[in-house]
Protein backbone atom coordinates (compact mmCIF):
# COMPACT_ATOMS: atom_id res chain seq x y z
CA UNK A 1 0.00 0.00 0.00
CA UNK A 2 1.35 3.42 -0.89
CA UNK A 3 1.77 5.70 2.11
CA UNK A 4 -0.26 8.83 2.62
CA UNK A 5 1.69 12.06 2.38
CA UNK A 6 0.98 13.06 5.93
CA UNK A 7 -0.71 11.88 9.05
CA UNK A 8 0.50 8.28 9.15
CA UNK A 9 -0.13 6.47 12.39
CA UNK A 10 3.14 5.78 14.18
CA UNK A 11 2.57 2.06 14.28
CA UNK A 12 1.98 2.12 10.54
CA UNK A 13 5.45 3.62 10.05
CA UNK A 14 7.05 0.73 11.93
CA UNK A 15 4.92 -1.86 10.19
CA UNK A 16 5.53 -0.48 6.72
CA UNK A 17 9.29 -0.13 7.13
CA UNK A 18 9.74 -3.59 8.58
CA UNK A 19 7.45 -5.00 5.92
CA UNK A 20 9.75 -3.55 3.25
CA UNK A 21 12.72 -5.10 5.00
CA UNK A 22 10.98 -8.46 5.06
CA UNK A 23 10.07 -8.18 1.38
CA UNK A 24 13.67 -7.34 0.47
CA UNK A 25 14.80 -10.57 2.18
CA UNK A 26 11.94 -12.60 0.70
CA UNK A 27 12.59 -11.33 -2.83
CA UNK A 28 16.36 -11.58 -2.61
CA UNK A 29 16.40 -13.60 -5.85
CA UNK A 30 15.64 -10.30 -7.66
CA UNK A 31 19.12 -9.12 -6.61
CA UNK A 32 17.98 -5.52 -6.30
CA UNK A 33 20.17 -4.51 -3.35
CA UNK A 34 23.95 -4.58 -2.94
CA UNK A 35 23.63 -3.78 0.77
CA UNK A 36 20.72 -3.33 3.16
CA UNK A 37 20.67 -1.22 6.31
CA UNK A 38 20.86 -3.30 9.51
CA UNK A 39 17.67 -4.01 11.45
CA UNK A 40 19.18 -2.32 14.51
CA UNK A 41 19.90 0.93 12.66
CA UNK A 42 16.45 0.93 11.06
CA UNK A 43 14.75 0.42 14.42
CA UNK A 44 16.82 3.28 15.83
CA UNK A 45 15.64 5.47 12.97
CA UNK A 46 12.00 4.43 13.40
CA UNK A 47 12.19 5.17 17.15
CA UNK A 48 13.69 8.58 16.42
CA UNK A 49 10.92 9.42 13.92
CA UNK A 50 8.15 8.08 16.16
CA UNK A 51 9.19 10.47 18.91
CA UNK A 52 8.69 13.50 16.63
CA UNK A 53 5.51 15.48 17.16
CA UNK A 54 3.32 15.54 14.07
CA UNK A 55 3.80 19.27 13.47
CA UNK A 56 7.53 18.71 13.17
CA UNK A 57 7.31 15.91 10.60
CA UNK A 58 9.53 16.49 7.59
CA UNK A 59 8.25 16.53 4.00
CA UNK A 60 9.40 12.94 3.45
CA UNK A 61 8.33 11.60 6.82
CA UNK A 62 8.44 7.81 6.86
CA UNK A 63 9.00 7.39 3.13
CA UNK A 64 11.40 4.53 2.41
CA UNK A 65 14.15 5.10 -0.15
CA UNK A 66 16.44 2.76 -2.06
CA UNK A 67 19.64 4.50 -3.12
CA UNK A 68 21.69 3.60 -6.20
CA UNK A 69 25.14 2.38 -5.23
CA UNK A 70 26.77 5.44 -6.80
CA UNK A 71 25.72 7.73 -3.92
CA UNK A 72 27.54 8.00 -0.60
CA UNK A 73 25.42 7.05 2.41
CA UNK A 74 27.43 7.40 5.61
CA UNK A 75 28.07 4.02 7.23
CA UNK A 76 26.91 1.94 4.27
CA UNK A 77 29.12 0.33 1.61
CA UNK A 78 29.80 2.69 -1.32
CA UNK A 79 30.94 0.38 -4.05
CA UNK A 80 29.48 1.56 -7.37
CA UNK A 81 28.92 -2.17 -8.02
CA UNK A 82 32.68 -2.48 -8.59
CA UNK A 83 35.19 -4.89 -7.12
CA UNK A 84 37.67 -2.02 -7.04
CA UNK A 85 35.60 -0.44 -4.24
CA UNK A 86 34.70 -3.69 -2.52
CA UNK A 87 34.46 -3.05 1.20
CA UNK A 88 34.63 0.75 1.02
CA UNK A 89 32.30 2.35 3.58
CA UNK A 90 31.21 5.92 2.89
CA UNK A 91 32.52 8.29 5.59
CA UNK A 92 29.91 10.93 4.71
CA UNK A 93 26.57 11.20 2.91
CA UNK A 94 25.78 12.76 -0.44
CA UNK A 95 24.00 16.11 -0.26
CA UNK A 96 20.72 14.65 -1.54
CA UNK A 97 20.94 11.80 0.97
CA UNK A 98 21.44 14.35 3.77
CA UNK A 99 18.34 16.18 2.53
CA UNK A 100 16.28 12.96 2.54
CA UNK A 101 17.35 12.22 6.11
CA UNK A 102 16.74 15.79 7.24
CA UNK A 103 13.18 15.59 5.92
CA UNK A 104 12.61 12.32 7.84
CA UNK A 105 13.00 9.85 4.99
CA UNK A 106 14.29 6.34 5.70
CA UNK A 107 17.16 4.78 3.76
CA UNK A 108 16.68 1.05 3.32
CA UNK A 109 19.85 0.24 1.43
CA UNK A 110 22.03 0.60 -1.65
CA UNK A 111 20.82 -0.79 -4.95
CA UNK A 112 22.68 -2.66 -7.62
CA UNK A 113 23.65 -0.98 -10.91
CA UNK A 114 26.07 -1.30 -13.79
CA UNK A 115 29.65 -0.87 -12.56
CA UNK A 116 30.23 2.90 -12.15
CA UNK A 117 26.88 3.31 -13.96
CA UNK A 118 28.44 2.06 -17.22
CA UNK A 119 25.72 0.18 -19.02
CA UNK A 120 22.16 0.01 -20.28
CA UNK A 121 21.06 -3.35 -18.88
CA UNK A 122 22.44 -3.71 -15.35
CA UNK A 123 24.50 -6.69 -16.51
CA UNK A 124 27.83 -4.90 -15.98
CA UNK A 125 27.59 -5.03 -12.18
CA UNK A 126 30.58 -6.86 -10.69
CA UNK A 127 28.36 -8.31 -7.94
CA UNK A 128 25.05 -9.51 -9.38
CA UNK A 129 22.48 -9.00 -12.13
CA UNK A 130 19.16 -7.56 -11.03
CA UNK A 131 16.18 -9.50 -12.38
CA UNK A 132 13.24 -7.74 -13.97
CA UNK A 133 10.33 -8.23 -11.54
CA UNK A 134 7.75 -7.65 -14.27
CA UNK A 135 9.23 -9.63 -17.17
CA UNK A 136 11.02 -12.83 -16.24
CA UNK A 137 14.30 -13.43 -18.02
CA UNK A 138 14.51 -9.82 -19.28
CA UNK A 139 16.94 -7.15 -18.13
CA UNK A 140 15.83 -4.34 -15.85
CA UNK A 141 17.55 -1.84 -18.13
CA UNK A 142 20.45 0.22 -16.87
CA UNK A 143 22.33 1.61 -15.36
CA UNK A 144 19.97 2.04 -12.35
CA UNK A 145 18.81 -1.58 -12.65
CA UNK A 146 18.48 -2.45 -8.96
CA UNK A 147 16.79 0.86 -8.18
CA UNK A 148 14.09 0.23 -10.81
CA UNK A 149 13.77 -3.36 -9.61
CA UNK A 150 13.32 -2.23 -5.97
CA UNK A 151 10.55 0.26 -6.83
CA UNK A 152 8.79 -2.04 -9.28
CA UNK A 153 8.83 -4.99 -6.85
CA UNK A 154 7.50 -2.74 -4.06
CA UNK A 155 10.59 -3.00 -1.90
CA UNK A 156 10.59 0.77 -1.20
CA UNK A 157 8.55 3.91 -1.94
CA UNK A 158 11.09 5.88 -3.99
CA UNK A 159 14.30 4.92 -5.77
CA UNK A 160 17.06 7.52 -6.01
CA UNK A 161 19.45 7.17 -8.92
CA UNK A 162 21.53 9.06 -11.45
CA UNK A 163 20.81 9.68 -15.12
CA UNK A 164 23.72 10.29 -17.50
CA UNK A 165 22.22 9.14 -20.81
CA UNK A 166 18.93 7.55 -19.77
CA UNK A 167 20.04 5.55 -16.72
CA UNK A 168 16.82 6.35 -14.87
CA UNK A 169 14.30 6.56 -17.70
CA UNK A 170 15.31 3.31 -19.42
CA UNK A 171 15.15 1.00 -16.35
CA UNK A 172 11.97 2.71 -15.12
CA UNK A 173 10.38 1.97 -18.49
CA UNK A 174 11.58 -1.64 -18.62
CA UNK A 175 10.17 -2.20 -15.10
CA UNK A 176 6.81 -0.45 -15.73
CA UNK A 177 7.30 2.49 -13.33
CA UNK A 178 7.64 6.30 -13.64
CA UNK A 179 10.76 8.45 -13.54
CA UNK A 180 11.99 12.04 -13.66
CA UNK A 181 15.35 13.58 -14.53
CA UNK A 182 15.54 17.32 -13.73
CA UNK A 183 17.49 20.01 -15.57
CA UNK A 184 21.22 19.40 -15.36
CA UNK A 185 23.11 21.18 -12.59
CA UNK A 186 20.13 22.33 -10.49
CA UNK A 187 20.68 19.55 -7.93
CA UNK A 188 23.93 19.05 -6.03
CA UNK A 189 26.01 16.08 -7.20
CA UNK A 190 28.10 16.17 -4.04
CA UNK A 191 28.59 12.54 -2.97
CA UNK A 192 27.61 11.12 -6.35
CA UNK A 193 30.35 9.12 -8.04
CA UNK A 194 30.62 10.77 -11.43
CA UNK A 195 30.35 9.01 -14.76
CA UNK A 196 30.44 12.21 -16.85
CA UNK A 197 29.98 15.44 -14.94
CA UNK A 198 28.54 17.49 -17.80
CA UNK A 199 25.79 14.86 -18.25
CA UNK A 200 25.19 13.35 -14.77
CA UNK A 201 21.94 14.35 -13.07
CA UNK A 202 20.41 13.21 -9.78
CA UNK A 203 17.07 11.60 -10.69
CA UNK A 204 14.44 9.28 -9.23
CA UNK A 205 11.73 6.70 -9.85
CA UNK A 206 8.40 5.94 -8.23
CA UNK A 207 5.36 3.76 -8.96
CA UNK A 208 3.11 6.73 -9.68
CA UNK A 209 4.13 10.39 -10.10
CA UNK A 210 3.31 11.26 -6.50
CA UNK A 211 6.36 12.69 -4.77
CA UNK A 212 8.35 14.08 -7.72
CA UNK A 213 7.27 17.66 -7.12
CA UNK A 214 8.19 17.42 -3.43
CA UNK A 215 11.59 15.96 -4.32
CA UNK A 216 12.26 18.61 -6.95
CA UNK A 217 11.41 21.43 -4.53
CA UNK A 218 13.52 19.85 -1.85
CA UNK A 219 16.63 19.06 -3.90
CA UNK A 220 16.66 22.04 -6.30
CA UNK A 221 19.34 24.56 -5.40
CA UNK A 222 18.48 27.06 -8.14
CA UNK A 223 14.78 27.52 -7.48
CA UNK A 224 14.82 31.06 -8.80
CA UNK A 225 15.74 29.71 -12.24
CA UNK A 226 12.85 27.23 -12.43
CA UNK A 227 10.07 28.51 -14.65
CA UNK A 228 6.41 28.42 -13.67
CA UNK A 229 4.26 25.50 -14.77
CA UNK A 230 2.64 26.09 -18.18
CA UNK A 231 -0.66 24.73 -19.46
CA UNK A 232 0.18 22.65 -22.49
CA UNK A 233 -1.98 22.71 -25.61
CA UNK A 234 0.61 21.65 -28.20
CA UNK A 235 3.18 18.89 -28.14
CA UNK A 236 5.88 18.06 -30.63
CA UNK A 237 7.25 14.83 -32.02
CA UNK A 238 10.47 14.50 -34.00
CA UNK A 239 9.97 12.46 -37.15
CA UNK A 240 13.45 10.92 -37.02
CA UNK A 241 12.73 9.60 -33.51
CA UNK A 242 9.74 7.65 -34.79
CA UNK A 243 11.93 5.76 -37.27
CA UNK A 244 13.67 2.49 -36.41
CA UNK A 245 11.29 1.68 -33.57
CA UNK A 246 10.36 -1.90 -32.79
CA UNK A 247 6.86 -2.59 -34.21
CA UNK A 248 5.30 -3.14 -30.79
CA UNK A 249 6.85 0.08 -29.45
CA UNK A 250 5.77 2.05 -32.53
CA UNK A 251 2.17 0.86 -32.23
CA UNK A 252 2.01 1.71 -28.55
CA UNK A 253 3.49 5.20 -29.04
CA UNK A 254 1.15 5.97 -31.96
CA UNK A 255 -1.83 4.84 -29.87
CA UNK A 256 -0.65 7.10 -27.02
CA UNK A 257 -0.32 10.06 -29.41
CA UNK A 258 -3.92 9.44 -30.54
CA UNK A 259 -5.04 9.39 -26.89
CA UNK A 260 -3.34 12.73 -26.24
CA UNK A 261 -4.96 14.17 -29.37
CA UNK A 262 -8.37 12.97 -28.19
CA UNK A 263 -7.74 14.84 -24.94
CA UNK A 264 -7.42 18.05 -26.94
CA UNK A 265 -3.67 18.36 -27.44
CA UNK A 266 -2.40 19.39 -30.85
CA UNK A 267 0.47 17.20 -32.02
CA UNK A 268 3.00 18.89 -34.31
CA UNK A 269 5.60 16.93 -36.24
CA UNK A 270 9.12 18.34 -36.56
CA UNK A 271 12.18 17.16 -38.40
CA UNK A 272 15.71 17.17 -37.01
CA UNK A 273 18.21 15.33 -39.21
CA UNK A 274 20.91 16.00 -36.60
CA UNK A 275 19.36 13.22 -34.49
CA UNK A 276 21.67 10.71 -36.16
CA UNK A 277 24.73 12.14 -34.45
CA UNK A 278 23.20 12.33 -30.94
CA UNK A 279 24.31 8.88 -29.77
CA UNK A 280 27.89 9.15 -31.20
CA UNK A 281 28.20 12.67 -29.68
CA UNK A 282 26.96 11.40 -26.32
CA UNK A 283 29.37 8.45 -26.23
CA UNK A 284 32.35 10.55 -27.33
CA UNK A 285 31.68 13.14 -24.58
CA UNK A 286 30.99 10.47 -21.98
CA UNK A 287 34.11 8.37 -22.79
CA UNK A 288 36.31 11.47 -22.51
CA UNK A 289 34.86 12.62 -19.19
CA UNK A 290 34.70 9.11 -17.73
CA UNK A 291 38.34 8.29 -18.43
CA UNK A 292 39.24 11.51 -16.65
CA UNK A 293 36.97 10.98 -13.66
CA UNK A 294 38.25 7.42 -13.16
CA UNK A 295 41.77 8.69 -12.51
CA UNK A 296 40.89 9.22 -8.86
CA UNK A 297 40.49 5.48 -8.36
CA UNK A 298 44.19 4.98 -7.96
CA UNK A 299 44.28 2.38 -5.21
CA UNK A 300 45.17 5.00 -2.60
CA UNK A 301 42.02 6.67 -1.44
CA UNK A 302 39.06 4.33 -1.75
CA UNK A 303 38.23 0.70 -1.14
CA UNK A 304 40.46 -2.20 -0.46
CA UNK A 305 44.05 -1.35 -1.00
CA UNK A 306 45.68 -3.87 -3.20
CA UNK A 307 49.34 -4.68 -3.08
CA UNK A 308 51.65 -2.36 -4.88
CA UNK A 309 54.97 -0.98 -3.81
CA UNK A 310 54.58 2.38 -5.53
CA UNK A 311 51.91 4.55 -7.10
CA UNK A 312 52.30 3.14 -10.61
CA UNK A 313 51.95 -0.45 -9.46
CA UNK A 314 49.12 0.36 -7.04
CA UNK A 315 47.07 2.04 -9.77
CA UNK A 316 47.56 -0.84 -12.18
CA UNK A 317 46.76 -3.54 -9.62
CA UNK A 318 43.67 -1.66 -8.41
CA UNK A 319 42.42 -1.15 -11.94
CA UNK A 320 42.99 -4.75 -12.99
CA UNK A 321 39.77 -5.74 -11.19
CA UNK A 322 37.62 -3.31 -13.19
CA UNK A 323 35.01 -4.85 -15.44
CA UNK A 324 35.27 -5.06 -19.21
CA UNK A 325 32.88 -2.19 -20.04
CA UNK A 326 34.66 0.14 -17.61
CA UNK A 327 38.06 -0.70 -19.10
CA UNK A 328 36.64 -0.28 -22.60
CA UNK A 329 35.33 3.20 -21.76
CA UNK A 330 38.57 4.27 -20.08
CA UNK A 331 40.58 3.14 -23.12
CA UNK A 332 38.25 4.92 -25.54
CA UNK A 333 38.24 8.09 -23.44
CA UNK A 334 42.02 8.03 -23.32
CA UNK A 335 42.14 7.57 -27.09
CA UNK A 336 39.67 10.38 -27.85
CA UNK A 337 41.41 12.91 -25.63
CA UNK A 338 44.91 12.37 -27.03
CA UNK A 339 46.10 15.58 -28.61
CA UNK A 340 46.39 14.02 -32.06
CA UNK A 341 42.83 12.57 -31.95
CA UNK A 342 40.84 15.19 -30.07
CA UNK A 343 40.01 17.23 -33.22
CA UNK A 344 38.67 14.11 -34.89
CA UNK A 345 36.07 13.07 -32.35
CA UNK A 346 35.89 14.96 -29.06
CA UNK A 347 35.84 18.52 -30.38
CA UNK A 348 33.36 17.48 -33.07
CA UNK A 349 31.18 15.92 -30.39
CA UNK A 350 31.22 19.20 -28.47
CA UNK A 351 30.22 21.11 -31.60
CA UNK A 352 27.48 18.56 -32.31
CA UNK A 353 26.24 19.04 -28.77
CA UNK A 354 26.09 22.82 -29.18
CA UNK A 355 24.17 22.44 -32.43
CA UNK A 356 21.73 20.00 -30.92
CA UNK A 357 21.14 22.44 -28.09
CA UNK A 358 20.48 25.25 -30.57
CA UNK A 359 18.07 23.15 -32.66
CA UNK A 360 16.22 21.88 -29.61
CA UNK A 361 15.87 25.43 -28.25
CA UNK A 362 14.27 26.45 -31.54
CA UNK A 363 11.88 23.48 -31.36
CA UNK A 364 10.90 24.27 -27.78
CA UNK A 365 9.91 27.76 -28.92
CA UNK A 366 7.41 26.15 -31.31
CA UNK A 367 6.20 23.39 -28.96
CA UNK A 368 7.28 23.57 -25.30
CA UNK A 369 7.00 19.82 -24.81
CA UNK A 370 8.44 17.07 -27.00
CA UNK A 371 7.42 13.43 -26.70
CA UNK A 372 8.92 10.18 -27.94
CA UNK A 373 9.35 6.58 -26.91
CA UNK A 374 11.88 6.09 -24.09
CA UNK A 375 13.55 3.14 -25.81
CA UNK A 376 13.44 1.92 -29.39
CA UNK A 377 12.83 -1.63 -28.15
CA UNK A 378 10.88 -3.35 -25.35
CA UNK A 379 12.88 -5.04 -22.53
CA UNK A 380 15.47 -7.37 -24.04
CA UNK A 381 16.63 -10.71 -22.66
CA UNK A 382 19.43 -11.16 -20.15
CA UNK A 383 22.61 -11.91 -22.08
CA UNK A 384 21.05 -10.87 -25.39
CA UNK A 385 23.13 -7.75 -26.05
CA UNK A 386 25.94 -7.88 -23.52
CA UNK A 387 28.50 -9.24 -26.00
CA UNK A 388 27.82 -6.47 -28.52
CA UNK A 389 28.53 -3.01 -27.09
CA UNK A 390 27.12 -1.16 -30.11
CA UNK A 391 23.81 -3.02 -29.87
CA UNK A 392 23.74 -2.15 -26.18
CA UNK A 393 24.49 1.54 -26.82
CA UNK A 394 21.57 1.67 -29.26
CA UNK A 395 19.18 1.23 -26.33
CA UNK A 396 20.03 4.88 -25.46
CA UNK A 397 18.98 6.12 -28.91
CA UNK A 398 16.17 8.35 -27.62
CA UNK A 399 17.30 9.27 -24.11
CA UNK A 400 20.78 10.79 -24.53
CA UNK A 401 19.43 13.99 -26.11
CA UNK A 402 18.01 15.31 -22.80
CA UNK A 403 21.44 14.84 -21.16
CA UNK A 404 23.35 16.35 -24.07
CA UNK A 405 21.29 19.54 -23.90
CA UNK A 406 20.82 19.44 -20.12
CA UNK A 407 17.03 19.54 -20.21
CA UNK A 408 14.44 17.92 -17.94
CA UNK A 409 12.81 14.67 -19.07
CA UNK A 410 10.57 12.10 -17.51
CA UNK A 411 8.97 8.82 -18.43
CA UNK A 412 5.48 7.39 -18.07
CA UNK A 413 5.04 3.66 -18.27
CA UNK A 414 2.67 2.48 -21.00
CA UNK A 415 2.89 -1.13 -19.82
CA UNK A 416 4.72 -4.08 -21.45
CA UNK A 417 8.06 -2.43 -20.66
CA UNK A 418 7.36 0.47 -23.04
CA UNK A 419 7.37 4.10 -21.97
CA UNK A 420 6.51 7.59 -23.16
CA UNK A 421 9.28 10.16 -22.76
CA UNK A 422 8.29 13.76 -22.01
CA UNK A 423 10.96 16.41 -22.48
CA UNK A 424 11.01 20.20 -22.01
CA UNK A 425 13.49 23.05 -22.29
CA UNK A 426 16.03 23.76 -19.52
CA UNK A 427 14.33 24.91 -16.28
CA UNK A 428 10.87 23.87 -17.52
CA UNK A 429 10.91 21.07 -14.93
CA UNK A 430 7.54 22.02 -13.46
CA UNK A 431 5.83 21.90 -16.85
CA UNK A 432 7.34 18.48 -17.63
CA UNK A 433 6.28 17.19 -14.20
CA UNK A 434 2.81 18.63 -14.71
CA UNK A 435 2.49 16.66 -17.96
CA UNK A 436 3.71 13.46 -16.30
CA UNK A 437 1.16 13.82 -13.50
CA UNK A 438 -1.73 14.67 -15.80
CA UNK A 439 -0.99 12.20 -18.58
CA UNK A 440 -0.18 9.24 -16.34
CA UNK A 441 -3.86 8.41 -16.00
CA UNK A 442 -4.84 9.45 -19.53
CA UNK A 443 -2.41 7.19 -21.35
CA UNK A 444 -3.14 4.12 -19.25
CA UNK A 445 -6.92 4.44 -19.18
CA UNK A 446 -8.61 1.34 -20.65
Amino acid sequence: MMPKKTGKALTELRERTLNYLEQIARKSELQAFNSVESLGKLLERINELEKKPKEKHGKLFGLCFSIKDVFAVQGLPFQCSSKSLDGYIAPYSAKVVEQILKEDGIILGKTNCDEFACGSSGENSAFQTSQNPKFKGKTCGGSSSGTACSVSAELCDIGLGSDTGGSIRLPATFCNIQSFKPTHDIISRHGLSDLAMSLDTVAWMEKTVQYSETLLNLFCEQKEKLKEKKEITQIGIIREQMENLDTKVEQKIKKTIQTLERKGLEVIEHSMPLQKIAVPAYYACMYAEFSSSMQKFDGFKYGKQFSGSDIIEAVKVNRSVLGKEVKRRILLGTYLTQKEESQKFYKKALTARARLQKEYTQLFQKTPILISSVAPVPPFGLGEKIADPIQMYSADLLTVQANLIGSPAGSISLGEGIGLQVMGNQFEDKTVLGCLQKWENWVNAP
Partner: protein
Protein backbone atom coordinates in the same frame (compact mmCIF):
# COMPACT_ATOMS: atom_id res chain seq x y z
CA UNK B 1 43.26 -0.72 -33.98
CA UNK B 2 46.83 -2.04 -33.89
CA UNK B 3 48.15 -3.82 -30.83
CA UNK B 4 50.96 -1.27 -30.37
CA UNK B 5 48.41 1.53 -30.30
CA UNK B 6 46.33 -0.33 -27.75
CA UNK B 7 49.43 -1.00 -25.64
CA UNK B 8 50.18 2.72 -25.63
CA UNK B 9 46.60 3.53 -24.59
CA UNK B 10 46.65 0.90 -21.85
CA UNK B 11 49.87 2.42 -20.51
CA UNK B 12 48.45 5.95 -20.59
CA UNK B 13 45.28 4.76 -18.85
CA UNK B 14 47.31 2.72 -16.34
CA UNK B 15 45.46 -0.47 -17.25
CA UNK B 16 47.09 -3.85 -17.29
CA UNK B 17 45.37 -5.95 -19.93
CA UNK B 18 45.55 -9.70 -20.42
CA UNK B 19 46.35 -11.17 -23.83
CA UNK B 20 42.66 -12.10 -24.22
CA UNK B 21 41.60 -8.54 -23.40
CA UNK B 22 44.06 -7.16 -25.96
CA UNK B 23 42.56 -9.41 -28.64
CA UNK B 24 38.98 -8.48 -27.77
CA UNK B 25 39.58 -4.74 -27.39
CA UNK B 26 41.52 -4.55 -30.68
CA UNK B 27 38.38 -5.59 -32.53
CA UNK B 28 35.78 -3.87 -30.33
CA UNK B 29 37.48 -0.48 -30.12
CA UNK B 30 37.84 -0.34 -33.89
CA UNK B 31 34.12 -1.10 -34.25
CA UNK B 32 33.17 1.57 -31.72
CA UNK B 33 35.35 4.19 -33.42
CA UNK B 34 33.54 3.31 -36.65
CA UNK B 35 30.26 3.82 -34.77
CA UNK B 36 31.47 7.34 -33.86
CA UNK B 37 32.36 8.14 -37.49
CA UNK B 38 29.12 10.13 -38.18
CA UNK B 39 30.72 12.86 -36.03
CA UNK B 40 33.08 13.51 -38.92
CA UNK B 41 30.21 15.10 -40.85
CA UNK B 42 30.37 17.97 -38.33
CA UNK B 43 32.54 21.03 -39.00
CA UNK B 44 34.17 22.30 -35.84
CA UNK B 45 32.87 25.78 -35.21
CA UNK B 46 33.05 28.29 -32.46
CA UNK B 47 29.66 27.26 -31.10
CA UNK B 48 30.03 26.20 -27.50
CA UNK B 49 27.75 24.05 -25.47
CA UNK B 50 26.27 25.81 -22.45
CA UNK B 51 25.30 23.51 -19.60
CA UNK B 52 23.26 26.22 -17.95
CA UNK B 53 21.69 29.42 -19.26
CA UNK B 54 23.80 31.64 -17.06
CA UNK B 55 27.14 30.22 -16.06
CA UNK B 56 27.63 31.34 -12.50
CA UNK B 57 29.63 30.07 -9.61
CA UNK B 58 27.43 28.61 -6.91
CA UNK B 59 29.26 28.82 -3.61
CA UNK B 60 28.23 26.88 -0.54
CA UNK B 61 27.38 28.87 2.55
CA UNK B 62 30.40 29.58 4.70
CA UNK B 63 29.17 27.96 7.88
CA UNK B 64 30.55 25.74 10.61
CA UNK B 65 29.80 22.05 10.26
CA UNK B 66 31.17 18.77 11.55
CA UNK B 67 34.00 17.69 9.29
CA UNK B 68 34.97 14.11 8.57
CA UNK B 69 36.46 12.41 11.57
CA UNK B 70 40.10 11.76 10.67
CA UNK B 71 40.36 8.80 13.06
CA UNK B 72 37.48 7.06 11.28
CA UNK B 73 39.03 7.76 7.90
CA UNK B 74 42.40 6.34 8.88
CA UNK B 75 40.69 3.24 10.30
CA UNK B 76 39.38 2.46 6.82
CA UNK B 77 42.87 1.97 5.43
CA UNK B 78 44.15 -1.60 5.59
CA UNK B 79 47.49 -0.42 6.99
CA UNK B 80 47.95 2.23 9.68
CA UNK B 81 50.86 3.55 11.68
CA UNK B 82 50.74 6.09 14.54
CA UNK B 83 47.22 7.28 13.58
CA UNK B 84 48.32 7.78 9.96
CA UNK B 85 47.37 5.82 6.87
CA UNK B 86 50.05 3.82 5.11
CA UNK B 87 49.91 4.13 1.32
CA UNK B 88 52.19 3.06 -1.50
CA UNK B 89 55.16 5.30 -2.19
CA UNK B 90 54.42 8.42 -4.26
CA UNK B 91 57.60 10.55 -4.25
CA UNK B 92 61.20 9.53 -4.74
CA UNK B 93 64.51 11.21 -4.09
CA UNK B 94 65.58 10.64 -7.68
CA UNK B 95 63.64 10.09 -10.87
CA UNK B 96 63.98 6.31 -10.98
CA UNK B 97 60.69 4.59 -10.15
CA UNK B 98 62.52 1.35 -9.59
CA UNK B 99 64.76 2.37 -6.70
CA UNK B 100 63.68 1.56 -3.15
CA UNK B 101 60.49 0.11 -4.56
CA UNK B 102 60.01 -2.25 -1.64
CA UNK B 103 59.59 0.41 1.00
CA UNK B 104 56.25 2.09 1.78
CA UNK B 105 55.65 5.59 3.06
CA UNK B 106 53.45 6.74 5.88
Amino acid sequence: MKKEELEKLAHLARLELTEKEFQEFEKELAEILKFLEPLNTIDIQEERFQTNEKQENEFRKDCIHIHLNSKNIVKMFPEQKNSLAVVPKTFYKNSSWEQNSNSRRV
